[in-house]
């Protein structure tokens, strides 16, 4: 049976959610958080950006590019996401890349955005995994975090999305689940800078 992009997405998101407790029993995540923050009626753990290697911190950089200003460039290989500015500068974010993030590359458009996105397992997945919830509401426990940007090409949902993560320490790594994972603060920031219709270039990766 063909595993669709969408079923993979859902499955990996849930695995990410369920796997954290057991697999990371000996891991202390507390240095990666610093207080709490409010956003649209939810409270989430604020990231301690200082705990990250400076290369993963959001930053303005000189970056040679040939895209229109405002284009989002996703470099999965090197774990960066850029919003291009004029004069070969760009705002760069460190990202984690889940399995889904390596399944596609090319040009796309931000066709839809969501605040505290929910997740609905597709019907074919529920058939195989009846134990799954029919819908996981958006909120601080949802592995997609506070925002998601959904990429389409020629009107078709690519199943490729830019979203948050609950695990700041996975920024800069290849993660087991999700697509392009960003710090909550960074995906909120990106949401404000990339209107629906924004051009996206996902660079080819060696994989």
């Amino acid at each position: 049976m063909a595993i669709t992009r969408r079923t993979m997405l859902g499955g990996s998101a849930l695995l990410g959610l369920m796997g954290t407790g057991a697999a990371r029993a000996a891991f202390d995540p507390s240095p990666f958080f610093s207080g709490r923050a409010e956003d649209h009626g939810f409270t989430y753990n604020r990231s301690n950006v200082a705990a990250l290697d400076p290369v993963w911190q959001r930053q303005l950089v000189e970056h040679e590019h040939h895209e229109s200003p405002g284009t989002v460039i996703v470099d999965t290989q090197n774990h960066f996401l850029y919003v291009t500015f004029e004069n070969n500068t760009a705002l760069r974010y460190g990202v984690g890349v889940g399995l889904e993030g390596f399944k596609w590359f090319g040009r796309a458009t931000v066709a839809r955005k969501a605040i505290w996105p929910g997740w609905t397992p597709p019907p074919e997945m529920l058939k195989r995994r009846p134990d799954l919830p029919h819908h996981m509401a958006g909120g601080p426990d949802n592995p997609l975090g506070p925002r998601a940007l959904y990429l389409y090409r020629d009107g078709t949902d690519l199943g490729y999305r830019l979203h948050g993560t609950l695990e700041p320490w996975t920024i800069g790594t290849d993660a087991s689940s999700g697509c392009v994972r960003m710090l909550p603060e960074d995906v909120i920031d990106l949401y404000g800078r990339a209107p629906v219709g924004t051009a996206v270039l996902v660079l080819k990766h060696i994989r």
């Binding site: 930053q59 000189e62 970056h63 200003p69």
Partner: protein, 168 residues
């Protein structure tokens, strides 16, 4: 796939000084990676500098087609702009309005003017002195994207808050 291309400025600086990184030439302590020269990070951008404004606030807001109304996302960005501009007063600001609708050049100039005006009015409402703000419209003369499909024009329908130091 991009290779590990070092920017020209960085390469020259490296050759001249034999340094291990180029971060200091951009003013940031972050290391150079992926061919990028760091200018300022979210943590080390000098408070009140234009880089701080770019990294931690953002210049741009975007509009729906044929509209000069601010949405929730725009107001969130402008709230951050207002807080920053009230704290760092040496700047005057030019708010540039742009449009890219299928109408005439004159209609687009007018729409750009309304967009810039909406941003100025909101910033003033949030406490930024009106005397520091000036609205200009570039109409449809400076699109960032040129494409046939109207759905890709959203990046053109924008207003940009540009910092300008006070001439004292």
């Amino acid at each position: 796939m991009r290779g590990p291309v070092v920017s020209r400025a960085c390469a020259v600086a490296l050759l001249a000084a034999g340094l291990a990184g180029c971060g200091q030439f951009g003013g940031s302590s972050a290391p150079s990676v992926n061919g990028d020269t760091p200018i300022a990070t979210v943590l080390d951008a000098p408070k009140g500098s234009p880089s701080d404004f770019d990294v931690n606030v953002g210049r741009r807001v975007f509009f729906a087609a044929n509209s000069a109304e601010l949405g929730d996302t725009d107001r969130a960005t402008l709230d951050k702009q207002a807080a920053w501009l009230k704290h760092y007063t040496p700047y005057r600001m030019v708010v540039e309005g742009y449009a890219d609708e299928p109408g005439s050049a004159a209609a687009n100039l007018e729409l750009g003017k309304r967009r810039a005006g909406a941003v100025v009015a909101y910033l003033v409402h949030r406490g930024v002195a009106a005397s520091r703000l000036r609205a200009v419209s570039y109409g449809d003369t400076r699109p960032v994207r040129r494409c046939a499909d109207a759905s890709c024009w959203s990046q053109n329908r924008r207003a940009v808050t540009v910092l300008d130091a006070v001439a004292s």
